[in-house]
């Protein structure tokens, strides 16, 4: 039985695609400079002073690719359950790290979108930006959960 789409559904769908594309852009853009300059990104990771030395390079090598592949999944709307969960997990970690280093007053480069060490120190603005992205990625999880569970549930309903 074909169901007429409610305005509510249209809004949810639009919100879902908008959030998905914004986060795709953020993650793909963020990954590129780090992939090009692994040595500089390793330094940025080291400067955060949270990982033991032997994990610094591994993180610097893999994290940018994770960001790129996540961004790509979000862009092409595939593996969205996994991608949106990982996106939110990463944003949670980034927010946590920014908070942690702001709290202990460590004056370091963000290394978020650029690996240049002489610009973009972490500030409250960095934190605000990361929190915004975290909210978007949590929103994406909720929208996706609705999309995956609710709409299919309807189709299986026996018609009266």
């Amino acid at each position: 039985m074909p169901q007429k789409k409610l305005p509510y559904d249209v809004t949810l769908t639009l919100g879902y695609h908008f959030t998905r594309l914004v986060m795709a852009g953020v993650f793909i853009y963020a990954s590129l400079d780090k992939i090009i300059h692994p040595d500089l990104f390793a330094e940025a990771v080291y400067n955060y002073q949270v990982l033991p030395g032997y994990l610094v390079n591994l993180t610097a090598l893999i994290l940018p690719w994770l960001e790129l592949i996540l961004g790509f999944c979000l862009l092409i709307n595939r593996w969205m359950a996994g991608a949106s969960a990982l996106t939110a997990a990463l944003m949670t970690i980034f927010v946590g790290l920014t908070l942690f280093n702001l709290a202990r007053g460590l004056d370091i480069s963000c290394g978020c979108f650029s690996t240049a060490t002489d610009e973009n120190p972490i500030t409250l603005l960095t934190l605000a930006r990361d929190v915004l992205f975290l909210i978007l990625s949590l929103g994406l999880i909720i929208l996706l959960f609705f999309k995956n569970t609710r709409s299919v549930g309807k189709i299986h309903k026996p018609s009266p």
Binding site: P38, W65, L66, A81, G82, D107, P121, N148, V152, G153
Partner: protein, 169 residues
């Protein structure tokens, strides 16, 4: 019932996809680093002392005792690489503020006034702070002959009760 089944599926999918995405990232990240000519070692020891080592095996780090001796003889210029706000809250006596994050703005007022042959000692705060190190390398590139880094300078200086300038409030 259907919704519960779908919910279960949704979570299984989430885990499966997330693991899959992570595995791909590890595989590509590793493979690309092996192939590219400018790859980095997978495991490297990271410490401030290593970072301060120069190509000819020397180190740019200066021990506190030497820095203090130079300070007493007034034989070195101390450069505070931290932000102006941190500098204002207290700094090594006579130190000049040269914030690494805004180094371009201080080019004429600070860097141009320094003698390229003078002994220059940069410092910031914390064992891991890289501002002084970045600044030191920058000054070296500019042609300063004698640049040293006092690692964890501000904390060490205070701990040893060496002369500081505190805010006048």
């Amino acid at each position: 019932m259907t919704v519960f089944l779908r919910t279960g599926n949704h979570f299984t999918n989430t885990i499966r996809q997330a693991v899959f995405i992570m595995l791909i990232s590890v595989a590509i990240g590793t493979a690309v680093n092996l192939i590219r000519p400018d790859g980095i070692p997978f495991v490297e020891t990271w410490s401030m002392a290593d970072k301060l080592a120069t190509e000819n095996g020397d180190t740019m780090a200066i021990p506190l005792s030497e820095a203090a001796a130079l300070f007493e003889k007034d034989a070195a210029v101390f450069l505070d690489a931290r932000t102006p706000a941190e500098y204002d809250q207290g700094h090594i006596q006579g130190a000049v503020n040269l914030p690494w994050h805004e180094v371009d703005n201080y080019f004429e007022t600070v860097i141009m006034t320094l003698d390229p042959e003078a002994m220059v000692i940069t410092y910031c705060d914390g064992e891991a702070c890289s501002l002084s190190h970045d600044l030191a390398l920058f000054l070296k590139d500019l042609g300063f002959a004698r640049v040293k880094v006092l690692v964890n300078g501000w904390t060490l200086w205070k701990e040893h009760n060496l002369p500081t300038t505190k805010p006048s409030s």
